[in-house]
Subunit: 263 residues, 2 copies
């Protein structure tokens, strides 16, 4: 029988009977991406890390059908919470994981008590007045480029995602992380990410939410962060000093402080 | 005696007694960057290509003092025009060359008759209401990163400049072009480029100007293109369908058409 622990390489740290604090990584990453942030919470929380299917050391078999939308990933996150019998969950999510977290929380009403979103976007495509940041044509080009040359795509995208302000080392780290993902998995996950539309899921989302919006985020810009904050009733929006789409890598101290003061 | 031809690897193509059409390359590039565009004009124009000091096959000695501002480069471009006895000059410039072109034209009043700017920016720094696109802190980080690891910087910046929409091959080409530049030259040129402020030079610029503003230009965004157009009296602004800061590489046909219809 498959175990959720081996399926998603679930690792636990800190206080076993403390409040569960889950860190959910983004596209092309794994739980290692939280290494500068998560350890700072192990003195008070039951810190739970995991890898999505296809990422890190997750052993779950990849099913292109199941994972063609974010619901598949959300079902996995919900399964982790259910099988570990978690309640009063605090979730810290990055990038696409923010919307996966919204969908997972909706599958387990009342079980999530706080949600910190780092660089969320409910929809990457421009659509009338909504400015997701990308034209459909751009996204199609990005996805074609990913399919035809995933290594090259990773090399070109990583610096744009991390932000050149943060120097080449972080970009290279992210590129290497991307390259550890199987290209077929990456293709399906990228389509689910960039073509998804979760705007309607925000309107009735009631988990108290903090949105962290970095400077010069070229993937989810300030207009998207602001939109997300406006849609989620009662949410807070903080504009970070950190640059780029991966502030938990480039400016962990600011992320740690923001999470701490919100939790 | 040094010759302007060897100093700047000046090459001429096309109709010897035609109207001079100069193509001026940007930071970290050389005249090869015009290879998709310039040949389309050799049937009607005297096409002139050159390399700035430190770039391509330019033999002129690099003087960090002279080239600490864009005036040094402008003096070189003006010298080329003077020594070749050019008049009724049409100039096509990319990126930092747009402002170099403005300064050069001012050194030779009446000699320039048309100016096509691709991705111009008179000032990269945000300054009050002016949105150049970069905070001072970001630029300082970029310049520090360039000084400490130029190869890494090139690798991180090239995809951001070219735009990931255009695939990894172009980013790699630009990265390799950057890497052919001596890091000390690159450092001085980058400072002159990113810290310069040529906004006041636009107000009395009277050369008929066409500004080509690409989509998703992460170096000189639409607000900067619009500002430039507003400042140069009588200029035209075209929003390209092409993406990124190097449309002459990624979408040469659109650039060729735009130049042709303007000239």
């Amino acid at each position: 029988m498959s175990s959720v622990v081996t399926d998603h390489n679930v690792t636990e740290h800190g206080v076993p009977d403390g409040q569960p604090l889950i860190f959910a990584h983004g596209f092309g990453c794994d739980q290692q991406m939280w290494r500068h942030v998560a350890p700072l919470f192990t003195d008070r929380y039951r810190v739970i890390l995991f890898d999505y299917v296809g990422a890190g050391k997750a052993q779950r078999e990849f099913d292109p059908e199941r994972y063609s939308t974010l619901d598949g990933y959300a079902a996995d996150l919900a399964r982790i919470c259910r099988e570990l019998e978690l309640d009063n969950i605090a979730l810290v999510s990055h990038s696409v994981s923010c919307m996966i977290g919204v969908l997972a929380a909706k599958r387990l009403p009342g079980r999530f008590s706080k949600h910190v979103m780092i660089g969320p976007s409910p929809h990457y495509l421009n659509d009338g007045d909504y400015r997701g940041g990308f034209d459909r044509e751009d996204i199609d080009e990005l996805l074609e480029s990913l399919d035809s040359n995933y290594r090259g795509w990773s090399r070109a995208m990583a610096p744009v995602i991390v932000g050149p302000e943060n120097g080449p080392e972080l970009a290279q780290e992210l590129e290497e992380s991307f390259c550890r993902l199987n290209p077929d998995v990456a293709s399906v996950f990228a389509k689910a990410t960039f073509l998804g539309d979760n705007r309607e899921d925000l309107a009735d989302y009631r988990v108290p939410t903090l949105i962290l919006q970095a400077n010069n985020d070229r993937i989810a810009g300030p207009a998207v962060g602001q939109y997300t904050a406006e849609q989620i009733e009662g949410s807070q929006l903080i504009y970070l000093e950190a640059d780029g789409h991966c502030p938990h890598l480039s400016a962990p101290d600011e992320i740690i402080d923001s999470i701490e003061s919100f939790l």
